[in-house]
Symmetry: C2
Subunit: 234 residues, 2 copies
């Protein structure tokens, strides 16, 4: 199985503008990407970063084993299009084996799944349906495994419901993978609390957030991530 | 194992005030409670509603098998206190068997887990750690299984982290159960989209929302639940 990790290299995480500078957003996005790539390697797979622009892999400073298991493909087409050509049956898909008799499965894992663990990914990758989806909040698709060459994705709108419908139309089986870790993409300031609560100790994103002055606090009976503006940031 | 379902009978779902009248909040809260109780029965367990005030079980109009598997206990103490006396080792706990040699495990499942399915609950109940937690967003504890009589809960603040710490202090093993369905409590208007996307067809909460004029819509590139104020509501 090939794993594709889409990454917006030039304008990452625009919804985090209220709390981060552009440079900080880039730092956090790359930290989350590195964490996701490491979780994929620990789950036993290699991955391809599907980047919207040139990306210097060395600059990510990945651990050795992660770097050797990761490649970069640059594609500035819209997300849906760039993924579809790489799905089984897509024009840039790779047949599995010399005789091309079987199409290799393709997984698509978003780069901002900061809580992803090898175990959560393994549960997704092990699903044997023609299509497996780990939904995100608000009807999104955070991770996807496609084994049916007739399936095409559509990341616009309620992609989770659309992917169910597309699978139904082509007669493919679909399994929904129930994972809080894979359902949690870090898009908005209120998502940062999840990184601080559930991020792995060895992950980069939590330590980057701490270095930027973020910590947990209680506000009006709710737990949020707040920034100490007096912190000695990097 | 005994299942306790805390329910705020008098002032349910105050954070949903921006979009519902008091009567509508009560209707939705009871629909979600009924769905949770049914999922518990389908998972093979009986439950006790731990209600903050008198609750007319018949008025919930539960399916026959669900009603006969559900009882009500009224306790107006704060949530943490009302639960702690019912945990294994608590003063109102029930010993398992006549000789009282073994304490029965207790599970606590919140009444607003509108996406709960029998499968998600079974995965939680099957965890064999001394304490199993299904975290909610923002450090909450949405569902909990306690097998160690020394464990006491604390639902204030980042209860997920507190429960980890409490387990560590008493030397109890703790397992975190990774479930999007159990992580999704319906607290705020932005949570309603999850009920519309992931609610089971046979559940009440999605049909109540539809009857109140709610449906999915796309707003500024995001999927949300919106209300048609012209709808012919109940």
């Amino acid at each position: 199985m090939r794993i594709v990790v889409p990454f917006a290299a030039e304008m990452p995480k625009t919804r985090l503008k209220p709390v981060f500078t552009a440079a900080e957003r880039s730092t956090l996005a790359r930290a989350m990407l590195a964490d996701v790539l490491r979780a994929i390697v620990e789950a036993g797979y290699e991955s391809t970063i599907l980047s919207t622009a040139d990306l210097d892999l060395a600059a990510l400073e990945l651990p050795g084993e992660v770097e050797t298991s990761t490649s970069v493909a640059v594609d500035d087409r819209p997300l849906t299009e760039a993924i579809n050509v790489r799905l089984p049956g897509g024009e840039e898909s790779e047949a599995d084996g010399d005789d091309g008799e079987e199409t290799e499965a393709v997984a698509v894992v978003m780069a901002d799944l900061a809580l992803a663990t090898p175990a959560a990914l393994e549960a997704l990758f092990a699903a044997d349906a023609d299509v497996a989806v780990a939904p995100g909040r608000a009807g999104g698709t955070n991770a996807l495994v496609v084994r049916d060459p007739a399936f095409r994705c559509d990341y616009h709108g309620t992609s989770y419901l659309d992917h169910r419908e597309i699978a139904r139309e082509i007669g493919a089986t679909l399994e929904t993978v129930d994972s809080f870790r894979l359902a949690t993409d870090i898009d908005e300031p209120e998502d940062l609390v999840e990184v601080l609560v559930h991020g792995r100790e060895t992950d980069r994103a939590p330590s980057r957030l701490h270095a930027l002055g973020f910590d947990l606090a209680e506000r009006e009976g709710r737990v949020v991530a707040v920034r100490d503006e007096t912190a000695d940031v990097e």
